[in-house]
Amino acid sequence: MSKSFRFQTSLKHARGFGSGKSGTGHFWQQRVTGVAALLLALVYVVLLVKLQGDDYGAVIATLGNPFVAVLMLAFLGVSVWHMKIGMQVIIEDYVNQPLLRVLALMANSFFSALVGIASAVALIKITFGA
């Protein structure tokens, strides 16, 4: 046989690349967190306006209210996830150099986690009575 038959197709090179990585899961997460953030943001804006001019004791009392704390924790958690996957899309769109892209994606995860954890710890500490 002069010419060997190639069993390997281009599928091998396509696997693991392109849209096949995550399908629509990412898109859907962006929508779900978006709807949740939209509703919770209304509470958040009203809360911010209400807190204007309040002194330290009043702010702690408001944030320490379990209803407020639960809604704020939900808002921050959902927002952090929404912004993490949103920034991921931006990085994937604009950062093309492979090493830089991986580093940017990592930095995005670290930043989002840090902001989320810091806010959560602070809120929980206030709710449980500093």
């Binding site: 929508r31 921050l76 952090v80 920034m87 931006i90 806010s119 602070a122 809120l123």
Partner: protein, 132 residues
């Protein structure tokens, strides 16, 4: 497979600079930008919450910074970003449901997003001023 010469001569997907400036395109960019501002803005929320949890001295220090004119300007910008991005998000939900793709409706929604975002930011600013 793809050799380097072929890859280099492939047409690039057209980007921002080749298109005429139109409102819907500008609003698409602004949606992303406000998302980016809010991304950075979460630091202000986290710092404020951590300061509040750390006691009155820390809270007073951070509160003082936020009450400065620069602080207020940044916070006002973040409030606008949040409101604009939220309305922009609703616009995306409308598209997701399959409505509003024709040029006229899309243009109208873009204009509404811009105007309503600015108006609501004004309302929040005035309300905050009254409460303060």
């Amino acid at each position: 497979m793809a050799d380097a010469r072929l890859a280099a001569s492939r047409p690039l997907s057209p980007h921002l600079q080749v298109f005429r400036f139109i409102l819907t395109m500008a609003m698409s960019i602004v949606h992303r930008m406000t998302g980016g501002f809010l991304y950075v803005g979460t630091v202000f929320v986290a710092v404020w919450l951590v300061a509040a949890a750390s006691g009155p001295e820390w809270f007073a220090r951070v509160d003082g910074l936020y009450q400065s004119w620069l602080g207020r300007l940044i916070l006002l910008g973040l409030v606008w970003s949040l409101i604009h991005h939220a309305i922009g998000g609703v616009r995306h939900f409308i598209w997701d449901l399959g409505y509003g793709f024709d040029k006229k409706t899309a243009d109208r929604m873009a204009l509404f997003n811009l105007v309503a975002g600015l108006l609501l930011t004004g309302v929040v600013a005035v309300a905050a001023f009254i409460f303060a």
